[in-house]
């Protein structure tokens, strides 16, 4: 077995650019997921039955079907309905965003339910409404609780975002495939791709651990 080190070195810059795009779509998707997740998570425990039911359906559907199928639904099936093509980047962040929204909703729900019930009672007894108490008292405290699981979700999505390579969106995995198509260097390129993913996920988990520690001492 001969490892073509030159190929690895030469391909590296191209792959790093792909990694940048991977981080970009992950960050945008988690950002989107955070907004969706916050509202769906709160809806999941709201006092309105209909909201609770809708949130449950959302969460069940997105967690109960593969992300790959969701990507296909948005990129291949949605155009049939819309009658026009969907941009791959838009399809990628939409699919990843609404998917992670479901997971983040559950993270939020758990984070909120971990807050002592006395906090809600204290807020309500001061005349604040349920939404006011959520906004000013419960959610700010929940944010602190959810940073570790949110970091895990970020890492999971960073890896899962490799799935959007199937719709031709040129993130890290897709770039690897394209270089291999040109050079036949499967071994070298997939090793490089794996290492780059590993470096990214390890960096993020360290970052989350640091953030968690800093918030703890506050």
């Amino acid at each position: 077995m001969n490892l073509n080190v030159d190929l690895m070195v030469n391909s590296f810059p191209l792959l790093v650019v792909g990694a940048g795009i991977t981080i970009q779509i992950t960050a945008i998707s988690v950002g989107l997921g955070l907004i969706i997740g916050m509202f769906v998570g709160i809806a999941r425990i709201s006092q309105v039955k209909l909201l609770r039911a809708l949130a449950a359906v959302y969460i069940d559907f997105l967690r109960g079907t593969p992300l790959l199928v969701q990507i296909f639904l948005i990129y291949f099936a949605l155009p049939v309905v819309l009658g026009q093509r969907v941009d791959p980047f838009l399809a990628a962040i939409t699919a990843c965003g609404i998917n992670s929204g479901a997971y983040i909703a559950e993270i939020f729900r758990a984070g909120i339910q971990a807050i002592d019930a006395g906090q809600m009672e204290a807020g309500r007894s001061l005349g604040m409404t349920w939404p006011q108490t959520m906004r000013h008292i419960i959610v700010p405290q929940a944010f602190k609780n959810i940073i570790p699981p949110l970091g895990n979700e970020f890492i999971a999505l960073l890896k899962d975002s490799s799935l959007v390579s199937v719709i031709g969106f040129e993130e890290l995995t897709r770039r690897g495939q394209l270089i291999i198509a040109r050079t036949y260097g499967s071994l070298e390129i997939w090793i490089c791709v794996a290492i780059i993913y590993l470096v990214m996920t390890l960096t993020i988990s360290r970052l989350v651990a640091y953030l968690e520690k800093r918030l703890d001492t506050k």
């Binding site: 006395g118 009672e121 204290a122 309500r124 007894s125 001061l126 005349g127 604040m128 700010p140 405290q141």
Partner: protein, 239 residues
Amino acid sequence: MIDIKNLHKSFGEHEVLKGIDLHIDPQEVVVIIGPSGSGKSTLLRCMNLLEEPTSGTVVVDGIDLTAKADINKAREEIGMVFQRFNLFPHMTVLHNIMLAPVKVRHVPRAEAEATARALLERVGLSDKADAYPPQLSGGQQQRVAIARALAMKPKVMLFDEPTSALDPEMVNEVLDVMKGLANDGMTMAVVTHEMGFAREVGDRLLFVDEGRIIEQGVPQEVFENPQEDRTRLFLSKVL
């Protein structure tokens, strides 16, 4: 100020309150005592609808809480102090006190801050305005909690075992604040095990057991000459 008629409250099969009638006058201090599980805390929590009555009516300051009243509006007038303080740990003491007046009563921030500082002085904690609740002792936290409730300028204050979670040496600092409130004419309903406080500050003592008011009267008289066997039995254990 508070008018309760035939109040029942069940948790599932378990009936905690079995028909309570209670009238509290403005400026009256009513102290509620009774064994644990007697329903005294539930009774208090029905007075601001933290517990929803199963049947009966609760009228506070002319608003029938058990009709489809605007409960948030009603609660603005009903301060509550909890056994476990329930301060907001992510906010400074000052912001704990300012939050509800600013968000609910729409008091301008500067005015809310001035009120908050005045209240902190009243409870003897002027130097703790910028501290976070977890940095304070239990007694200090409870005094902040009282200041937080008072910031809404309520017409009634409910106290749910305000000294039960405190170390013994901190009980008096909280009771002193409550005495001050009573002397200033605040209408108060206090669930407590502090018999000394009941005797000294209470206008009326209520003995609650098994979901009913067993006996009530001037604290001194109830303590010295209880009419009911159950009251006598309870008092013999706690006095």
